[in-house]
């Protein structure tokens, strides 16, 4: 069961910084995962679906069509701003 991690305004949208999430049957890619989360919470789904949101699986940037069934940690990151 992967851990989902939310940063910045996505943390506010999710109402939490992280959660354990049981992947529903049929979820294979990151895009599938976003769809599953949207089914649970439509507003969060819209926020996670924005193209400016980047995803990382086990601390490596991934595309939305990447397979995440073996990932232990999936991060959702809005535009970054350091400095």
């Amino acid at each position: 069961m992967p851990r989902l991690v939310y940063f910045g305004r996505l943390k506010d949208a999710a109402g939490r910084g992280e959660e354990l999430f049981d992947l529903p049957p049929g979820v294979r890619t990151a895009a599938d995962l976003v769809k599953a989360l949207a089914a649970r919470d439509e507003i969060l789904g819209v926020a996670l679906g924005a193209p400016s949101v980047r995803l990382a699986a086990d601390k490596k940037i991934i595309d939305r069509d990447a397979t995440i069934t073996q990932s232990r940690e999936i991060a959702f990151m809005p535009p970054m701003s350091g400095g």
Partner: protein, 153 residues
């Protein structure tokens, strides 16, 4: 060298420590980013930086490596804070050491532009009116674009 830390730091003390004992450099360019009191009410204003432990350090290392590849530098230092900060406190320090001033200046400028848009931090500004997430401005993206097509990864 990279440090990502919650503790406050003194940019000048870090600069002096980084320069100490070096006789091989001629130029040290530095940049310090500080929390600016945007609200006119320093007592309530604060900035909170979220980061992603492990990932944040790795992404900053890519920025540092890009600079080291692109310019002839003797050494580089990036210190970046996370957590809660008050107006006047330093958020980030970047130092580039080189034999001559142009590579030192350009590398420090470059590292700051990339930190601004590519370093995994998320900034929340708190003022009398509540919280506000800060995301890179178009100006920040334009600044980064000055360095040309350039892949970090």
């Amino acid at each position: 060298m990279i440090r990502v830390q919650e503790e406050p730091f003194s940019p000048g003390a870090e600069l002096d420590a980084f320069l100490k004992g070096r006789t091989d450099i001629g130029a040290a360019a530095s940049f310090t980013g500080t929390v600016r009191d945007m609200t006119g009410a320093a007592d309530v204003a604060r900035l909170t930086l979220d980061h992603y432990p492990g990932f944040t350090e790795a992404e900053i290392a890519k920025i540092e490596n890009s600079a080291r590849t692109r310019w002839a530098l003797q050494d580089t230092l990036i210190i970046h804070r996370y957590g809660e900060m008050r107006p006047g406190e330093a958020i980030v320090l970047v130092v580039a050491l080189a034999a001559h001033r142009r590579p030192a200046f350009e590398a420090a400028d470059f590292m700051m532009d990339y930190l601004k848009t590519d370093a995994p931090f998320w900034k929340k500004e708190t003022g009398p009116g509540g919280d506000r997430w800060i995301e890179p401005r178009q100006q920040d993206r334009d600044d980064k674009a000055r360095w040309g097509a350039h892949k970090e990864s």
